[in-house]
Each structure stands twice: as structure tokens, then as C-alpha cells.
Symmetry: C4
Amino acid sequence: MAMVCLLDFEAYAEKYLPKMAWDFFAAGADECSTRDENILAYKRIRFRPRMLRDVSMLDTRTKILGTEISFPVGIAPTGFHQLAWPDGEKSTARAAKAMGTCYIASTYSTCSLEEIAAAAPGGFRWFQLYIHRNRAVSKQLVQQAEALGFQGLVLTADLPYTGKRRNDVRNGFQLPPHMKLKNLEGAFEGNDQSEYGLPPNSLDPSVTWDDIYWLRSLTHLPIVIKGILTKEDAELAVRHGVQGIIVSNHGGRQLDGAPATIDALVEVVEAVRGRVEVYLDGGIRKGSDVLKALALGAKCVFIGRPALWGLAYKGEEGLQDVLRILHDEFRLSMALAGCASISEIGQDLVQFSKL
Amino acid sequence: MAMVCLLDFEAYAEKYLPKMAWDFFAAGADECSTRDENILAYKRIRFRPRMLRDVSMLDTRTKILGTEISFPVGIAPTGFHQLAWPDGEKSTARAAKAMGTCYIASTYSTCSLEEIAAAAPGGFRWFQLYIHRNRAVSKQLVQQAEALGFQGLVLTADLPYTGKRRNDVRNGFQLPPHMKLKNLEGAFEGNDQSEYGLPPNSLDPSVTWDDIYWLRSLTHLPIVIKGILTKEDAELAVRHGVQGIIVSNHGGRQLDGAPATIDALVEVVEAVRGRVEVYLDGGIRKGSDVLKALALGAKCVFIGRPALWGLAYKGEEGLQDVLRILHDEFRLSMALAGCASISEIGQDLVQFSKL
Amino acid sequence: MAMVCLLDFEAYAEKYLPKMAWDFFAAGADECSTRDENILAYKRIRFRPRMLRDVSMLDTRTKILGTEISFPVGIAPTGFHQLAWPDGEKSTARAAKAMGTCYIASTYSTCSLEEIAAAAPGGFRWFQLYIHRNRAVSKQLVQQAEALGFQGLVLTADLPYTGKRRNDVRNGFQLPPHMKLKNLEGAFEGNDQSEYGLPPNSLDPSVTWDDIYWLRSLTHLPIVIKGILTKEDAELAVRHGVQGIIVSNHGGRQLDGAPATIDALVEVVEAVRGRVEVYLDGGIRKGSDVLKALALGAKCVFIGRPALWGLAYKGEEGLQDVLRILHDEFRLSMALAGCASISEIGQDLVQFSKL
Amino acid sequence: MAMVCLLDFEAYAEKYLPKMAWDFFAAGADECSTRDENILAYKRIRFRPRMLRDVSMLDTRTKILGTEISFPVGIAPTGFHQLAWPDGEKSTARAAKAMGTCYIASTYSTCSLEEIAAAAPGGFRWFQLYIHRNRAVSKQLVQQAEALGFQGLVLTADLPYTGKRRNDVRNGFQLPPHMKLKNLEGAFEGNDQSEYGLPPNSLDPSVTWDDIYWLRSLTHLPIVIKGILTKEDAELAVRHGVQGIIVSNHGGRQLDGAPATIDALVEVVEAVRGRVEVYLDGGIRKGSDVLKALALGAKCVFIGRPALWGLAYKGEEGLQDVLRILHDEFRLSMALAGCASISEIGQDLVQFSKL
């Protein structure tokens, strides 16, 4: 089976992963309309490609929060990588480093932050945080991440409770007994791990914007907020001093009916007016999607499920394949659109289709 | 078979109900385009969810016409519940009471109003009225309902004649001989019950707005008008002194080509300008649909077919399951959209998709 | 098989007609997109139905060019009725008369005008005319129609040449040898009847607006022009003194890509500003379609293929069934929309869907 | 199998060509959305046909760059015609000449320019050019084409690199060993012909608008630029002195997500304001498509894949069949739209559908 595009990796993962794991990774909330819209929305955006520009030298490098990456695609935070590949997040960390890009490690990793850091020393990584009712747990994770060289803190804002994913309910989704949420081992009393490996109600749904100040007090790391979909929240994020915003609907796994991220990006970018960096995740399946997101103002995008498909295919090597294909496709799309470098990608490169 | 969402109950009902009963409940007029639009229209509405609001305490309670309900979903008036479950409307009344919400009992019930009232004493109920040519019949029903503790009168305005439901014609739909329209027993002469259990032409198609005054003269109950789809009729309803409006197209069973209720809601709410309460039925299939309707100005929604599916599944218990799922989904949607209580649900929470 | 709606007659005709006849009747030009749009366009129009109007007495009668018909649906001119039923246009004439409506007999009838007139004496009929290169033929037909009591002349404007209907080409469509274009027998020299029963190039593609004056000089009958789709041509038609306009795209059989007639109706009605009557054919499949067309300004609609399906089902009786169903559905739609008579049907009854 | 419309030729080619050849001809970039949009976009354009115009004499002739062609459809440059028919481009040249239209011979022909010229002496031909890193190759081709009587030079601007066509990658597309890029034999060192018959990186991606001046210095032939999709590039093309613009997205084979050419045509025509001729290729499948393109301002259109299907069917004869069908359909569409000659085709003949 030739692995030509990301959909080949998706087909592989669907075929070879255990059904419960595949369903968990593929899941969207309710009817999955937001999950599917994340992809469909790209098809409604048309390029306005420019011709006869010198595209003999193509430079895909960019910087996020001051650190250079080889191309504007990082790894979004997703949980439970051991469900996809035995080495789990260690493989992810190695692949991201090898490809010169950023990996956002999830709180819900099946490897510990130490293991991740040790697997790919010097790799460019951010740490994704959920705030738990037991704030001591969260505080410790933040400080551990900073000590281990993680260079940014990503606060997920869209999961005060877990979305309703019908297949997970039908399957009675459980982590296999030999997998642990390594970063949270011993953090909670009792053995009830019925909700995605944690006791129910461990997350704190009372978190508000003021908790950004609390986070700020814990760490010198830049804070990025993930899950913003409106101009109002984008303005609040800027005012509360974050360094970056990830436009995200959690892969369509939280509130079904939320807009596609590429659609929401427009209003967030407009509200932010360049004061902080704006990123996006959700629906990226080929290099031209990346180009569209950048044209609409994203500084970088992050991939979630495609990274898991890469892991499911061949672990570290498979994820590198996924990233390499995206890199190649993105570079080719840039060239065919007449852009030799990231700075030449502007808003006049795209238009929304009337359809 | 796990009952995870309302569609599971629909599948169950389709599988286990007699074809004639299923077809009757499922029927829409003509090509069923309005019936189907009721559902599709929700998919064109996108949320604008807000993040980092304290949603640790969620309150789904609201009031309709001054009476508190546990969440803004009631039971719409539908006929012939014994077609779905032997205990018929008695089960419906018990389930609604158990779940703390409002049940609008239909004129076309297969249990009498006394039986309904006795099945769930103290339950919050309204009575739905058709006006018959024989006005004495209607008058008696109104006064009986008031005497039995029903707290509101719902006048159905969109059925001067019955819509054309092709499958009912093909099936030669008839109530089984052991079922009766208990509230109308003896009301009409002769035995011809060829039109949905009644003699043809028993309904009065000459009813006009002035009959609201006649109804008002019969009862102290608040009057709610059901079947309004335009701003013009909404204005007339307010001027004629009703206390509430149910935006409804009769589940798409009357005039095929009428708009989806969620689409019509916008113009009705705008015309009413808060002078009376506005409700909606039609197309509610999950908690987020309820949230969309409330964001667009509905005070409460009512479910028709899903209630019948619940009855078909397990009677009173099945209907409670349906209501509980909707309640849970609605509460979760509120939380994920950043609303801790009904009063925080506003119009800026949604936008109509360009598609 | 219960005949509940017009689609049942379509299914019957498709099943029982010879393939070549079915294909001929069903044919659209090229990709049939206009043929299909004629139907789809109705689905994009929504009613704004009004409630609580006295609809106890429903009057569907209207007048076209001064003559009363029982409801605003006539029989559009279509050719070769013997392909559908042995008695051909004689059956059509009888059914139209029995149902109290207008029948536009085609030049391409397989019965002669005399036979048609004799089959249903006193019936309300118009005669549809193509102008042939041999003007004497056309002149004689016009004068014969007038003499036989036809009350209007319908000039088809959209067939300077016959559209390309792929299946007719594939089938090598030919009239069976025992059928003749009775009105044109002996009109043309030679035996080549390769193009729909006529010699190729018998039609005159040089006809222009000035030929209206020529027609006017031949007859006292009112002239209706059929095939108008633009405001510019509507204005020209009025200026050239026609009494009526049929908005038509020839059932999608001529220029594929022409607009649906219900869409074109809007611009024609606006241009005409009530100076002449405007009718429509194409895509009428149920009573609510008629109501939509009238709300948008049509005085009457005409059915083409559904009439042929009725003939194919049971000749005169089958066509009466079709008309009766349409009449019943139209009357019911009127009532459910709050209109007791034709004069109450106005433009505010409909709106174009955003979809 | 009757060959009634172009889709019949497509079906034939898909059935009888070797899979690798069919896939190569059919290929679009990435998800083929632009390839498919090229066709779908025509379905969103509606005619506004005019009636009762004298269309007895139909004249489809037009001129491009001063040379008359029998109707406004030429042969777009496509490569590797021997994959479709043994005589390759020689057959193409003969068919184009026989039908009185223009053939744009590709740099990537499997016959040499001499062979093409000799196959159909006196035929109206343009030569399509890619600029290679080895400019001497390109220079020689230009001068050879001019010497051989080619009357125009078409510079392809949208292929600095080859687009990603998934099936070609899966198939490991290679020219069969007995086919050669005859115009480039000996032009490049080494035997690596892994990229569509050429060594990788033989094309020059550093070409800019200034190279138009270089081309101009090589030849007296008029220069047409192919691959323009925006008003900005159209303006640049005019300013750099080209004589014509072909609005093209390379059949959807280069940047997936580029607009349908019929959509892009509008903005290019508007920008050009008649200063140079504008043509179009992509998605032409029937005569009415040609009419739509001309109504929107194209002077002529070119067909790519349909020409190859014609070759695959019966070589020169099959391509003539394709052209004859298009000619007949175009002429009929003109007549049915009320246009007797090309000059009568104007922008008010079409409108974009709201859908």
C-alpha cells in the first residue's frame, strides 16, 4: 500500500487499530457535524494563485513565539498515544524533533513528561494543560514542564466537561489496564477511572479568565490559550495577557455545532489585530489546507488525528512520513500559488467560494 | 442495544412498531420536505461558544407561564399514544411529571382527560384543543380540562383540514378497534370514523381570530396558540390576547413547503418583542437543538415524535429515558457554550451558516 | 397500486410504456439539468402560511382570458398522445372538459383538430402553433382551429430547431407507422419523417416578433406566446400585442441551462406589470406547486408530462384522476395557507429559501 | 455504442485505455476538487435565452489573433497523445485542420513539431512552451515552431513544478519505452526520465514576467500566456505585452483549490477590458458550455481531455467526431438562445444561479 497522502494513513489506521481505539480517535461530539465541517470548510475556500514569480528557492521556515520551525505545522495535543503505538508519546517527540517542528504534549499522555523530554532531548515542545479541581496537580505539572525545558504552556479552554461522543459511550471506552495517564498517577484518590482514565469530575469547570493570572504566577513560560472561536473571547485572551491563541473546536469532540476552525479563524484574526500570534487546529489534511490557514492569518497550524494515524502506521517513522508529506505538499502549494516564502502568503491569496 | 441518543429510540420504534403506526407517527405531508427541513435547519446554525466562564453550577430550570419546569423541554401534543404503548397518555403524563416538565395533552388522546389527570396527580399539564363544528364539544372539553387542573389551553391553529400524508392514504390508516378517542366519545353522531378516528368534517374550518375571544369567555386558563409561522400572525396573536405562541408546522404534517420552525422562530420572536412567551416544536433531536432554539428566543421547546419513540421503547420509563438524555445533552451543551443558566443564553450565541 | 399522488402515475407510466415512448416523454435536452431544475426550484420556495382565516368555503375557480376554469391548472401542449393511449388527444379533450379546465392542443397531435373538437364538444381549448416554412400550412391550421371553436392561439417561440435529447438520438426515435401527425398530413412533400414525424427543416427558424402581426392578421383569436423566460422578451411580447405569456422552457427539452420556470416567472411578472396574463408550465407535480406559482404571479399553470402519465394509466379516466388529485391538493394547500379563494393568494405567501 | 455526446467518448476511453494512461489523462491534483469544479461551475450558470429572433442562418465562425476558425473551440495543449492513439499528435493535427480550428501543440508531444507540421500542412497551429532551465532548449523550440509555420506561442505559466497527482504516484507513471518526448530528445543529459518523461528539475521555476521580454526577443510570433486566474496577473500580462490570455488551471492538475476557469474568467475579462483576447480551457463538455464561456467574455475555448477521448476512440476520425458534436451542439445552443452569430453573444445571455 503506497502512502501517498494523509488519507492513506487514515485508511491504514482504521483497518489496523482496535475498534475501540479507532473510534476514540475518530470520535466527534453528537452527530460529528463540527468534526466533518472542519474538513469541508476548506473545500469552500478558493485560491487566487499568482503566476510567473520566481519560486526556484522555497523557504517554508517560520517562527512561533520566537522559535524557528521547519514549516508551519506542529503536533496538536492529543491523548493516549500508546493506543496508537507502543512507545506512545516518546515516538511523537522523536518524530517532531526529527522534522524540526513543535510538539504540544498533552496532559493526558501515556508517557510522563520526563519520558517525553528524555526521548528527544532539545526538541521544541509545549505542554498542554487542563486545570483540575485539585489545583496542586496542575501547578506541579506546569512547574515540572518548565523545569524539563518545555517552552510554552497551552491552556485548553473548551473542556469544562467532556463532550458526548456516542461511540465511546457505546463502546464503554476504557484505557487498557497497562496504560496509565502517567502525568496524573497518584494525583487523584480512588480507583475510579471511568472517564477517559480519570475519576469523574476531576476537571475544574469553574475556571475563568482570572485563572490566567494564576497560571502566570506559576511560570515564566509563555501562555497560549486553546479553544477560542469568537472575536469576543479573542479580545479577552489578549487582554488577559496570553502570548498566543489556538483557534480550535477540539477536533469537533466538544460542542457539536461549533464552527469549522478555518471559518472561526477569520473573526479571531480580525479581532486580534496582530497583538498575539494566532494558530489553528482541526481539519488539516493536505498541504494546501495549511496554505489556506496561513493566508487567512494563522501563524502555524497543528495536526491532531493525522499524527495519530502516522503513529499507528509505523510509530516515529510513520509520523515523520505524515509530516514529510505535509511539508512537501505545503511547499508545492506555495510554489504553485506563487509564494517563495511564508512572508509572501497574504490574504489576497484566497477567497471564500459563493457555494 | 444501548440507548445513547434519541436516534436510537427512533430506530427502535421503526423496528418494533406496527408499520401502520410507525408510518402514522413518521408521516409528513406530501413530500415530507417540511418535516425533514425541521431537522436540517438546525445543521445550518452554528454556535459561537464562549470559554472560561464558571460553569461549575449549571441550572437548567426555567418557567413557562409562571410555572417552573426542570429544563426547557416539554411534551408536544400528539395523538393516539396507545398506538405506541398500551397505557397510552397515562404513561406520558407520569413520565412528564417524573421529569418535572410540562405535558400538553392532545384532544386526540386515547385516554380521557380524567384518566390522564388521575395517572399523575399534580403534574404540570396543558390541554390542546381543536375547535369542532359542534362547539358544545369543544366548550365542554375546555371546561373539563380547567376543572381537572390543566393549567393552560393550547389552541391548534394550523389544522382547518388534515394534511395529505401519502402513507396514511396508502395504508388506509385506521385506529385499531379497541382504541377510542376517549375525549370525543359520543360527541359525534354516526359511526363513520374514517378520518383519523373521527367523522369527516368534524373540525371547524371557519375558525378565525375572533374565536379567541369565544375561548377566552369559556375559561380562566391562559391561552397559547400553536401553529404560527409568520410575523403577521404573531402580531395578530398578541393583539388577540393570547399568553403564548408555539411556533409549529405540525411536525411537517400539514402544509408541505412551510418553513422549518427554527427558521420561522426568528421572525416571530422579532415581531412579538417579548410581549408574550414564544415556544417551538419540530425537529428537536438533541440537547444542542434546544440550546439553539433558546438562543434564538424560544422560552421552551416541545418534542413530538421523540416522545412517542420513548413510549414505544418502554412506556413511561422509555419516555423518561428520552427526556433524561435531552436534559443531559442540553446541560452539557450549555456548559460547553459557556452558559451556566438559562438567562445567560442569548442571541449572540448562534449565527446562521452561510451554507 | 394506489394512485395517491402524481409520482404514482409517473412510476406507472415508466413501468408500462414502451421504452421509446417513455424516453421521448421524459426527455430533457443534453444533461436534463433544466428539466430537473423545473422541479427542484419549487423546493427552494417556502410558504408563509396564515392561520385562523375562515376557509370553510373554498373557491378554486379562476378565469383565463375571460373564460372560467374550475381551478388554475390546464393541459399544456404536448405531442403524440397516442404514444400514451390509443385514443390519444380525444381522451385528453374529454378529460379536460370533464374537469372543467383548458386543454391546449398541440400542432403535433396524433388526432386531428376536428377529431379533438368532436370528442368533447363545447370544451374550452386553445390551439398551439408552430410556424412552418410553408406558411400556408400554419395559416390553414390557425383558421381551422378558429372555425372549430378553439378559443385561443398559443404560439410556441422556443423551438426554431428541436433541442438535443440524447435518448431520442440513441433510440432512433420514430413514431410507430400507424400514428400520424394528423394536422399535418399532406402538408409536406416526400416521405422523410425522420425528425419527430416531420421532414427535417419543416419548422421556420426565421420567425421574429413581426410574425405576431402576421398571425394577428389571420385570426380574431387571442394570441398567447409560449416560451418566454426573460423580462426583455416579456416586454416585447406585451408591445407586440399578445394577450398572454406562458413562461416555459419546453419542459427542459430545448436549451439545457435555461432557468427553472418558477424562477423565471418572477422577472416576467415584474416586467409585465399586469398588462397581460402570465401563465407557467414545467415542474408542477403537486397542488402546493400550483399555489407557489400563483403566489408569484401566475394566473394559471399547465401540466405536460403528468397529463401524459394520466393518459398512460387509464386514458381519459387516468387524466381525470391526475387532475382531480391536483385539484384536491391545490384546494387543501390553499386552505392550509389561509386562502379561501384565488384572489387571496398574494406574493407575501411565499419566500425564496436562502438555501 | 452510439457516440451521442462527449461523455460517450469519455466512457469509451475509460473502458479501453490502459489504466495508467487513463489515470494520467484523468488526473487532477490532490483531491481533484478543481478538476471537478471546472465542470460543476457551468451548472451554476443559467441562460437568459431570447426568443423570436431570426436564427435561420447561423454563423459560428470567429477569429483568434486574426485567423478565422470555423467555431470557437480549439485543441488545448496536452501531452503524450500516443498514449491515446498510435499516430499521436499527427492525428490531432489532421483532425483540427479538417474541422477548421486551431491546435495548440504541446512541448510534451510524442511527435516532433516537424512531424506535426508535415501531417497537416497549412493547418492553424500554435505552439505551447515550457521554459526549461536550459534556455537554449526553449529558444530552439520557439524558433523551430516559428520556422515550421506555427502562428502563435503559448507560454504555460502555471507549472513551475508539477502538481501532485495521486494516481500517477500510485501507478509510478512512466511513458512506455517506445514513446519519446520527440521535441526534447537529446536536450537533457543522462537517462533519468522519472518525471513525466523528463529528468527531474528540468523545468525552470525561476521564470518571471520579465522572461516575456526574453521570449519576445526570440520570435515574431504573438505570445499567449496560459494559466492566468486573477485580475492582478491579467493586468500584468497585458502590461508585459502578451497578445492573449488563456484562463486555465491546467485542467485542475496543478494547484488543487484553484477556482473553476469559468468563474475566474469573469474577473480576468473585467480586468483586461478588451485590450487583449481572452480564452479559456477546462470543463468544456458540451456546446452550451462554449456558449456560456463566450457570453462571459471568452473569445474562444480549448478542449483538453475530450480531444484525448476522441483520439482514444478512433484517432483523427474520433477527434473529428468530438469536434463535430461540439460544433453542432454549440450552433444549436446559439440558435435556441437567439443568437445567429458570435457577435450577438453578450453578457446578458447568462446569469449566475443563486445556488
